[in-house]
Structures are given as C-alpha cells and as structure tokens.
C-alpha cells in the first residue's frame, strides 16, 4: 500500500450515530481483523444504505457490500450483525455487483428495526479493508449523522 495517495473521504452509508468499532458485538469487526473503521448505530427507520465512496461495487450481498475506489481502496459496509442468517429477507438490492457508483448512491434498502426485532444487532460496521490501524481519522461528530455525510478520512 502506497502512502502517497490522497486522503479518501468515506461517507456514512446509513443515518445514525457513530460508535467505536470496538463496541460492535462481533469479534471480527471489534478486533478490526479485516481492517479498522467506524460503526454506525443506525436510525431505526426504513432507509437506503448508500455507497461510502465512489467506485465499483465488487461484492454485493443482501446484507453487505464492498465498494472499491479507483485507487484500489475497498470499503466494506455490513448492515447489522449476523445478518447473513436472514438470507436476504428484508433487504432489497438497489444496485448490482460490478456497478460503478458515485459516493452516496443507494445500494440496499433495509429496516434496522426489523433486524433488531429478530434479535440481532442492527449496528453497521464500515471497514477500511486492509488499512493500517492509524490511517483513519474520524470526522463524524457525536450526534446523529445523515447518510452521505462524512464519516472518516482514510489517508
């Protein structure tokens, strides 16, 4: 990984409150095993999760996606914890794997309260894949952030 890239501005994919990744109730995310990041405790309303950066959707699951920026940096958005077990129920895909998207473009529609009602955490890890632990600077404030608002900078 080069250090000479311009800082990448990563947007909040869902509306909510930024929480430390270490608070996520999953050891893989809490331990930053696939990369550091910031999690969002989402607003409990039906919502469209958006692309956190401009680039290509290289992975699209019903409950998670990865967008890779033109300079090769991948950001993973995971909608809720253990939501793979829902097998797509309650998630509507608004884009396709392989699509080129602008930051802020809708990718998946879902309802965090439905996930929570099923006994799962709706918290959304936003992961800078394979980034160095000190590469991120959180820019979201302590309150609610809107989907598409700046979440962190990846330098």
């Amino acid at each position: 990984m080069s250090d000479a890239r311009t800082p990448l501005r990563v947007l909040a994919p869902v509306p909510g409150r930024a929480v430390p990744m270490s608070d996520v109730p999953d050891p893989v995310f809490a331990g930053s095993l696939v990369g550091p990041g910031v999690a969002l405790d989402p607003t409990r309303s039906r919502q469209q999760a958006v692309a956190p950066v401009s680039g290509r959707i290289v992975k699209l699951h019903p409950h998670a996606y990865v967008v890779v920026s033109p300079d090769g940096r991948g950001v993973l958005v995971h909608l809720g914890i253990d939501t793979v077990q829902l097998k797509g129920a309650g998630f509507i895909l608004l884009a396709a794997e392989g699509d080129e998207v602008e930051a802020g473009a809708p990718v998946i529609e879902w309802h965090p309260a439905a996930v929570e009602g099923g006994g799962r955490s709706p918290v959304c890890p936003v992961v800078a894949l394979d980034a160095a632990a000190d590469a991120l600077q959180v820019v979201a404030g302590a309150g609610e952030v809107a989907a598409g608002a700046p979440l962190f900078t990846w330098s």
């Binding site: 050891p27 893989v28 095993l33 696939v34 992975k59 699951h61 991948g74």
Partner: protein
C-alpha cells in the same frame, strides 16, 4: 490468493466438513470433528483468524469469502 484446497485440508478434509457458508468476511463452517481442524494450517493458507465454538468454526478470510466458498463447494461435490 487463498487456495480452497488448503482451507479444506485445514478444516480436516472434505469428509470433515458438514456445511460451509460464506459471509461478507468469513467462511462459516460446521465440522464433524473439531479436533481435526488445524488452525495453523488455515492461517498458513491465508486465513486472517479462526474463531471456534465447538463444531462451529469461522475462518476469517476477508471479502473474497464468497469466491473461496464457491471454490470449496466445487471441491466438495
């Protein structure tokens, strides 16, 4: 690139794998005999980490999990 064959071997071989399902970052597997799982071999094969809870074994491989799981399923057929 993580090789499916090495993951299968690390999980104790094809005969030891009851189920394998990809998530966004990991392979969720169920094995017959957890003692046959070789964490060192899985990590040498490229796994970032291995999380175990009895016969439920999660192999953390990153976002290529779905591709690796497809390769493994082909091997198991």
């Amino acid at each position: 690139m993580i090789e499916a064959e090495k993951i299968v071997a690390g999980l104790g071989g094809a005969g030891n794998i009851v189920e394998i399902e990809p998530c966004a970052t990991r392979l969720r597997t169920e094995v017959r005999d957890a003692s046959m799982v070789d964490e060192g071999a899985l990590k040498r094969a490229g796994a970032i980490a291995v999380m175990r809870n009895g016969a439920a074994v999660q192999v953390i491989v990153g976002p290529e999990a779905d591709t690796i799981a497809s390769d493994i399923e082909e091997l198991l057929e």
